[in-house]
Subunit: 226 residues, 2 copies
Amino acid sequence: MSATRDTINDKTRLSADAWAQAALDAIADQGIAGVAVEPLARRLGVTKGSFYWHFSNREALLKRALERWEEQETGVPFQSLENETDPRRRLQRVIREVNTSLRTSRIYQALSAAADDPLIAAFVTRVSTRRIETLRHYYQAVGLSPEHASRWARLTYSVFLGTLQIRRDMPAEWPHTDSTEFSQYIAFLERALLPDDDAMNPDLAAPAHPGAALTGTPAANAATKS
Amino acid sequence: MSATRDTINDKTRLSADAWAQAALDAIADQGIAGVAVEPLARRLGVTKGSFYWHFSNREALLKRALERWEEQETGVPFQSLENETDPRRRLQRVIREVNTSLRTSRIYQALSAAADDPLIAAFVTRVSTRRIETLRHYYQAVGLSPEHASRWARLTYSVFLGTLQIRRDMPAEWPHTDSTEFSQYIAFLERALLPDDDAMNPDLAAPAHPGAALTGTPAANAATKS
DNA sequence: TACTCTCAATACGCCTGCGTATGGAATACT
DNA sequence: AGTATTCCATACGCAGGCGTATTGAGAGTA
């Protein structure tokens, strides 16, 4: 989209960044195979001659596109949550938003699918490691030890990645965005992926409704056992 | 490996199934791109002439390989758990084993990475849907309603998929198989992915160790809140 | 206007994979 | 043995992508 030049016969010359952005767009909707010189040139309305003036080869373009992506990606999809003061609410929000939106995930999925390429793998690893690190901080902020925070972060990021895949490959298993099942599942996730702090308030920890056993809320009272 | 014929100059002719198996092997260690007629022929020590006698085209080989995979995959990785009588222990075991072994996952990951191909996507969808369905049954067997079982199954399968990806793309984030952190994380997963049944025994549900608050065990007592 | 620098078009050769056509060797059949 | 059938090798044409070399058009500058 943003790759096709404003008007089809725009006389403006192309910049290297224009090529990089076009490559990213191509990744988003055709995967890594979309990053091919001649097809991209056609899409941009030019020929290879342009490309090989700006870049030495395809690899260079890919690298540049990945760098561009990594910049844009830094903080995403966890951005705009730093101003959330309550650490517990911040975790809830990140769980909710990350498993709701699909915005930036297309490129990530395409890159992850091509992680056999060492260059791509390096970027994917960096970005994901940073994300897990962020989650780790968030979990520590609610009072967990580093070890426990690591486990929760790992779990939550697994769920995020797995959910992406489910939504892509088994859409039938994913509730429609405006259904009640959808909001219920998100609430379910928030509970499953948040360490309970009720134990901090022993008066609330007593099972007010024993009949609620096995209603499907996550791992009640597991904390009391070990 | 099993694709290379027994002895390098074995005079035995090839069967279509040999090609299909070779294709699966190629998928496992080169991805879908490994399913290419001429490279496969070289690997098998023959030429294209053989291939195009057994198959009409590349697509046909891929289809056959996928069918072969789907058969072998049916029940895996949840097989050999049907004889586990205690439904709760069965879930524990499936969570443990699925997130421990990597056996059959290489092909799955390669296929999932190539899910832009509609043919491949169809197989991936079927296999994964069946797996989720199995998990759903397992969760119902411990007493959950169909709705809640669906959510738990979806969550657990997400974790499985996401964990696969983490182990492949961010191995540094995954504890070494024989470390104590590894076994601790698996135990953590078992708790996080299993609905608590302590609520069935209200006498145990009382927080025996309130000091255990925020130790990192999953979502204690969430069941008592809604 | 002449000159230079930037960007792009054209044309070419290379490689790799797909699919076809045809002939030949090995095996099975009678 | 002779024939037919099964399986494979060889040779070919085609397509698409990569990278190079060369030419050319436009814009800026003196």
